[in-house]
Amino acid sequence: MMKKILFLSILLISAVAIHAQGYKVGDSAADFKLKNIDGKHISLADYKDAKGFVVIFTCNHCPYAVAYEDRIIDIDKKYKKKGFPIIAINPNDPAVVPGDSFEGMQTRAKEKSFTFPYLFDAKQEVYKNFGATKTPHVYILSKNGKDLKVEYIGTIDNNYKDASKVSTKYVEDAINSLLMGKKPEVTYTKAIGCSIKTRG
């Protein structure tokens, strides 16, 4: 009985600890260094002139991620020059989903002519720091000196199926507000997505 209680308490504590991980809007985000599809490692600190970042956890295999690929490219083309580049990160373990391997990422990036870095979270630590749970999952960060502040968490827009039927572009609206020196009106939404794949 005591053993069972102890076990349950440990389980509860670890569950709380896992739950407590991850950023909320207003938190400061830690920089990271991950391998890009060209083999070079990238950190957010490399972007001296950026005003912020659109960090998107995404992958090759998930239909929601695929449905948003063209829209992610468009956002990068539109906002990179304004200081908010897209940083895409694949958080999945290829041992669970072979299609999300580093080679698979290189192939997909080439097919779709990605205009942004597509990084591999090989140790699966960065997504845990962020608290990402699925693909695609967006975190917009603003940069003030060395501080990276989380300004928006959630989904890209309000129609995962059909880009032509979108009526609210959450990510673009948030960046537009930040560019005007204002806080985004909507700072949190819930994105539908494929759970991030891990072993065990």
Binding site: V97, T133, K161, K190, G193
Partner: protein, 176 residues
């Protein structure tokens, strides 16, 4: 399925000894199983939402899944197992498919036959996911798979793959 009617029918057939009738009934029966898994209702969340709040003495097991979702497909047999073992116990299993794209109904139908899944399936087609994810369960943030088990106002939510024993334990707890 009503075993009583089936048995009556069976003894009647034995009595009349007309094997050709037995064959045609068996054939009809086989077709009706196939036909059942080919018709899907496609709903938006507003139409589906009441199914998450029914106030009767049935325990509802509602699983959100998709054919391309690996953990979802892995756990499907667990739901089918539950459906069979609780068949006469006021437990209803509903599989809510989030599949989309071309010929989704046809693909779904083939998939379910191949996997031998006979639980009721509906398609949720509501692309403004942010508007309804929190209404499935306020703890859910939108990652598939997800499962709601409830009876009246008592409910339990899983934002991950579940096993037969977890499902059975939850159903039994809700009925204690």
């Amino acid at each position: 399925m009503n075993n009583g009617i089936f048995n009556t029918r069976k003894s009647y057939l034995y009595n009349t000894m007309k094997l050709n009738i037995l064959f045609s009934i068996a054939l009809l029966f086989a077709f009706s199983i196939n036909a059942k898994s080919q018709d899907f209702e496609t709903l938006n969340f507003k139409d589906l939402e009441p199914t998450f709040h029914l106030q009767n003495d049935t325990t509802y097991v509602i699983n959100l899944w998709a054919m391309w979702c690996k953990p979802c497909v892995e756990e499907l047999p667990e739901f089918e197992h539950i459906r069979k073992s609780y068949e006469n116990k006021k437990v209803k299993v509903l599989l809510v498919s989030l599949d989309f794209g071309s010929k989704v109904e046809e693909r779904l139908s083939k998939f379910l036959i191949k996997k031998n899944i006979n639980a009721e399936v509906v398609i949720l087609d509501d692309p403004d996911a942010n508007s309804w994810i929190g209404k499935v369960d306020d703890k859910w943030d939108g990652a598939l798979p997800a499962t709601v088990i409830y009876k009246k106002d008592k409910r339990k939510f899983f934002a991950r793959k579940v096993t037969y024993s977890e499902l059975a334990e939850t159903i039994d707890n809700l009925n204690r």
